[in-house]
Symmetry: D2
Subunit: 492 residues, 4 copies
């Protein structure tokens, strides 16, 4: 790394302004959540509920596609699940099978054209697809397809997939999907809906999660298991890395078949789901997320101990790690930061406010808990450092005598190319600054991270992708050689 | 024709109910209006105004695509031009060239997915297209394209065109457009927008209209000339049947070139534009529409005279013909039917109303003009007969002693396959009933039409398509052999 | 009159800019339309339809109040009748009696707070009122009421009325209404709705219209008769000047009683309703509006003849007068100006346009009718002159060799204080300029008005208010001594 | 108490269905939050932010009134603060003083007519008022006022207040407010806005909270202090019970004066603010809410101990008490229930769900924390019992071996008449059932409440209203003798 050692505050202040336009600027954003069901007379209503339980995985847009008698109906919109799917809309999404999608955009602009599921008519009939992940050879595929006369109306990976399926010479939807997926590289969990099937696939590394559930005769799919709880389904198992699961109509109801179209595969599931993305009440790969986070906190307490009076988590995502830290360190645990759950907007920043006061709309300190105390703040990640800096200032203004920041993960040094919206390396503070430099920027009295080994040990199990911490990418990523031209659609 | 002669009222009552859901059930609906401009710094604003002046050609949806520096921006929505294009939207549609479209759907359901212009990215960059007309070999082309791996997300002719362009092996947008158009059959006036050009094309028969105007250095296109008046442009000439006009950047501003890619062509412009579709202040093929309508009325007075006291037109489209009739017949002309220009909706039909009272919301008689009089009603067309029947009843209820209906066109016996929304033959009352039978159904004292020769003579000029009256179709139409499956999109 | 004779164009240009913000700047705007019904199970649906037929009397806001079992329900909104009253809203407005109102605001700003009907609870129960007209002692009454402790949340006359009713010591709604109305001066047609009655009142001069109809057992009221035609009711008679009509529940259905609470009264109905406001298919005071307009045109042809080739009316309101003029002058009548019925908005005026091009969005000339002709333009009024000036320019640009403007009314010299929205004297071009000066400003070749005597003779009958032409005001008007403070409500 | 001892399940099931329509059916709802500011150039923007920080006190409607040069501008709407106050709206609310209000309706129907602030014009000018509380002599006052000729367009206490002010014979706004308030009884915290002043008043018992802050020269008021943190203001003190604080323009900026218009007063502040309503980061009457809740939990652990393995709070409001309980009982504290912060709606309840599955959309158990454990659930209140019953079932379904419910307050036996939305006695399960009966209905293994003495001791300080627990009402409440007729407004 060829960066010059510059005085940290100047260097570090630079990205602050732009970064602050986004609320959660110190957190990652998973791109998508998937839900699918085959074999229920209330398929679209259950998909609506399932998406609601996955809303944390994407708040920008949502969509549902349903099929009845081969006729595919699609509704997608920008906004939250509960605002998009009113009763009249749900009633129009008829049929006993449906797939749904929630999305958080990685690009700056948000357009309905990129909302999912995507649906088209092609030679074999109607087809809808919902995608979570990122195809690393998207650019090459798109260039090849355009050379063959394909037209594009979005910039989503899904549209490339659909073209590959339409160009396949195979005879059935299922064979064409397998054929197409053998040509793509990258991270993907996918749900396809056709007149005959729901197809669920996970890439050979299993980078993005996908679970199977059962509700009576119906088969259900979701990015994480909590939607199963909500609709009363039972969790069956995860879709395996490299597995393609096909649900079709059998003689006695919906039948599930399993294929492995990619040959070999090597489990490398995303370890960051345990640290931050997944719901705490989720279980991924057989491991409880809540338990894993408590173990992360406990390991952090052992690796980065500090003399202190109280442990305060950054809510909501840091709470379980904070509990683990406090218990291991034998320190009192207090909710010294209160989170507002009415997401606010600022149109005109008040003159009286601290610069970039955004974080105040979300978090407020409880002075009585902090005053005169040596405080350990436990958070799950530190991306740009701007929010952490404001939190530290807020805690200190509330009277804390010392502020020690502890992150229940290793430093985030590398961008994710597998479907998680992380900033570029230039914006990742840990990619070009030492822990001491970061601590000085954050203005905390001490800063501690978890080690990569500590992370793996605390989560438990094996076969994880930890590229964002280690730079060890399981799949090569070809950076686009040219800027994509891009159709812009206003409103539609 | 193998229909049995049934008692007319029963037969004829049948389609009434369904037909009545639509307001203008006794009138035709042109599908589309086009507007384009190349070389003005206020391209999208002028396109907005141009579409406003073409609103009568389509009230279901509207769209504008604009290009700046090769980046294409598109906005389209269901609704009226003035509601869709707010100032913020217009401000986003930057660039010195734009094309726009207003649309009336022929299908029962209306979806934004079928709104135009359509825009895509393909091998040569971004491309938008706006289409007025109907491709008669759409089904064959779509089947062929699907067989070659094309995907479809709408059911518009435009999407077939775009695939043909993307599949062409030619090197430039312009050559590819020509290549694609040589493969299609049917009626089309088209505007294309690319990073480099605006392209205007009219099919070899010139079935649908398209005019060229000039505004300073800018070239302007519109389905009819009145938009030129509105924006201060001057009318130059019509695009010729079979002509492709390309505007590109020349050394001293926008340059227009003309091509004839289709080889031979034979002028067969739509005669019904003069009878009903076009604005009365339009001039098509060098003939004033207002003047033509007055001549139609005069010819009608000669062909179908009647002893009467007063001539009353059905506003607004029948007014000019009514004037012509009255003057030729030397009868007083009175506006005995008042049209409300606040288009109404009925949610719950009042119990007190005459059955299907819809027409009342639009037209109301002036009793003083009609009472005790022998009234000649002049209208421009009679499609199903349901509205005319209500109008006749309304006139009689207002005290008329006799009601004579005169139509300033021949009986509409054949559906239009070239871009005009007409009912099927079964619903066209004149296709399977004699004039006497229709008169009995309409309950008028006499009914008179214009002859086909009278029509041609009154409009003047030559080379018209009069298929809706004569059944003489210039282009064969292949009925689809199978019902198209169709993707349904709710809202989006 | 103390104006200096200034070069007319300078003087006259001054008001142009501000005036041009409004579309119809050369026309008056009646403030309101009323509709009421007592005794129909579909009262609110019929009121919706009735208001639709009165939409021309006010497009800014609309409201309906209905009563069932003493419970009053109100809905009012800014916008057009058909957009406000959706089926769910109509279904909520239960009960067998209802009153409704459409409104055009006189003030610059439009607020729902001033929408009508107004509804309140007071000592005797719930009460709604809809008002057409203007109370000339509003300021005095409001000051007195405020001195007695009344609070105001609107600036409508209706709120003063409601306070007077609430302060009355009478025992019944009906007596209190009479008591309150004896204290007010000015022009009013009013509908009241209580738990027991619908009450219809017209001021002692009968300045604003109000008609009675019958639909089965139900009694119906409307500002003009055409709504009766729409809903299938029959016209019974006008409410008389100074009459108060009370509908209540009699032993055999709704019973109508008539009172004259104001003692003497003197008919002075608004003559301008015949000239411009009322629908042409209306009959007011026993006189057909359409016929009256034709007679106005004929009288104008006699009073202000001119050598010409063609008579062209300004649509829609000038058409009947144009017919009358042409017939009397024995000149051809042509619709040489086409009116667009899609009301447009301009966000950004195109640079290429004539200055203030607004009128173009509404009217377009038919060149073939005008070219090389000496044209008589017939319009019904000329207020500021700005629109007329643009129309004359448009006609001349279309090739007319001469343009003669004829107004089917006398010069509008005085503002209306009785419920019609006219500009102040300073803005009325005829109030401070001679006909010659106006003609020069308008740039027409000649300008002709009808005389006041000619107006009265053409309309026929007697007992009219012609104050806007003559300055002869039947009721004194107290100008407010101070600027009213005014609560502003955004949105609500 | 004269209730018969019925089999509890039957009795108790009865209210379940109706109650379940509301999400938070086991929690109280405070009616309102207030914010005001005098002396800042960004008054409306700061009021917007202040209301955002008070959003938990009312989510149904919000409004802001601002004054500039005596002109009062008001905007209020149904919805959330952030959706109502867009930048254009805030920009229109000009002036250096403003008051705002958030509201949760007690009545079943929600109407903008009842949204606050209320604003009127009266003899002394414009006046706006925002009210938190409930006037216990509202009905008497309204009847008296109606008898004197007052009209009403809402059913809010504020309208009665405004009438009393308008009827007062005092000379100034301030004296009239004092005069009016001496006539009312009940609980009120009030903010008034006039052309000259902001006035803040608290009833003689100080039942509802109200705090004073300072931001530079400006004086700020808020129901609770956290909005001061958000805008950078400092907390000064609470408004005292019975105090009227008037801010006006002094020679060197905004000046605050204090009055005690009610003579004697006796502090009886609402103890339930500490238990549930107030934000945990609030400080009321000098006592930290977070600390008080921890003490309530600790006291509960002493009063209602149980052999158990883990303490799980019901988030968010039960968390602090849960921490206190766990620490006092020396038991592990775990977040075994995860709360979704995307508030959901169910349109169609899935057939597969447990009956009334509503609570599932909000809470989901973490199985790993609960499985095989003896669980103590800590919640802050139990109103009808329906939600608690579902939570207990959910915990047990997740594998808990025992479920012990602990409420950090005494049984809620009496409705609040002072501005908090509680069900009637019939619906309060504790008002007519023993703890054992409730436990059986809830299906928990044990149920424990805090004693009233324990509550007072844990909160600390003195002078509280605890009527909802004890029935000891400081102010008599006159139940209305008749059902109020009530104007219904749809939409507006």
């Amino acid at each position: 790394m060829d960066r010059a050692v510059l005085p940290p505050t100047e260097v570090l202040d630079a990205p602050t302004d732009a970064a602050d336009d986004r609320w959660d600027d110190d957190h990652f954003h998973d791109e998508c959540g998937l839900f699918g069901i085959y074999g229920s007379s209330e398929a679209s209503n259950l998909t609506y509920l399932g998406l609601h339980a996955l809303q944390h995985r994407g708040q920008e847009s949502a969509g549902i596609a349903a099929v009845q008698d081969g006729a595919l109906i699609l509704h997608r919109e920008l906004g939250l699940v509960r605002d998009i799917f009113t009763e009249p809309v749900i009633r129009k999404l008829v049929g006993d099978r449906a797939i749904g999608h929630v999305r958080y955009s990685t690009a700056g602009e948000t357009h309905v054209k990129n909302a999912q599921p995507m649906a088209v008519d092609y030679q074999l009939g109607s087809l809808a697809v919902a995608h979570n992940g990122n195809l690393t050879n998207y650019e090459e595929l798109r260039e090849r397809l355009e050379g063959e006369g394909s037209i594009f109306s979005s910039t989503t990976d899904s549209e490339v997939l659909v073209h590959l399926i339409a160009h396949s010479r195979q005879r059935t939807h299922v064979d064409r999907v397998a054929d197409a997926l053998r040509q793509v590289q990258g991270a993907f969990s996918l749900l396809f809906l056709t007149g005959e099937n729901v197809i669920a696939v996970r890439d050979p590394y299993g980078l993005r999660p996908l679970s199977i559930g059962k509700l009576g005769d119906a088969w259900v799919f979701a990015s994480e298991p909590p939607p199963f709880d909500l609709i009363g389904a039972s969790y069956v198992r995860d879709v395996e890395p490299g597995e393609m699961v096909v649900v079709s109509n059998g003689p006695s109801g919906p039948t599930l078949e399993s294929f492995y179209p990619f040959g070999e595969s090597e489990k490398r599931t995303c370890i960051f789901e345990y640290v931050y993305f997944a719901r705490p009440d989720s279980k991924l790969g057989g491991i409880s997320v809540y338990d894993a986070r408590k173990r992360l906190g406990a390991a952090l307490a052992r690796e980065a101990p500090v003399e202190a009076d109280v442990v305060v988590p950054v809510p909501d995502s840091g709470v379980a790690a904070g509990l683990g830290y406090a218990r291991e360190a034998n320190l009192p645990f207090e909710l010294g930061l209160i989170r507002s759950h009415y997401v606010g907007r600022t149109f005109i920043e008040p003159q009286s406010s601290i610069r970039h006061f955004g974080v105040r709309l979300k978090l407020n300190p409880v002075r009585e808990v902090l005053e005169g105390k040596r405080v350990v703040i436990v958070d799950d990640s530190l991306v740009r450092g701007t929010t952490s800096r404001k939190i530290v200032k807020m805690i200190r203004d509330a009277g804390a005598s010392e502020v020690h920041l502890r992150i229940s993960a290793p430093p985030t040094r590398w961008p994710c190319f597998y479907g998680i919206d992380t900033p570029s390396r230039a914006e990742l503070i840990a990619s070009n600054h030492s822990v001491d430099e970061i601590a000085r920027y954050i203005t905390c009295d001490s800063l501690g991270y978890l080690s990569v080994q500590g992370l793996h040990a605390a989560v438990g199990g094996a076969g994880y992708c930890d590229a964002c911490f280690s730079g060890d990418y399981p799949i090569a990523f070809t950076k686009p050689g040219h800027q994509r031209r891009q159709l812009a659609l206003i409103g539609v």
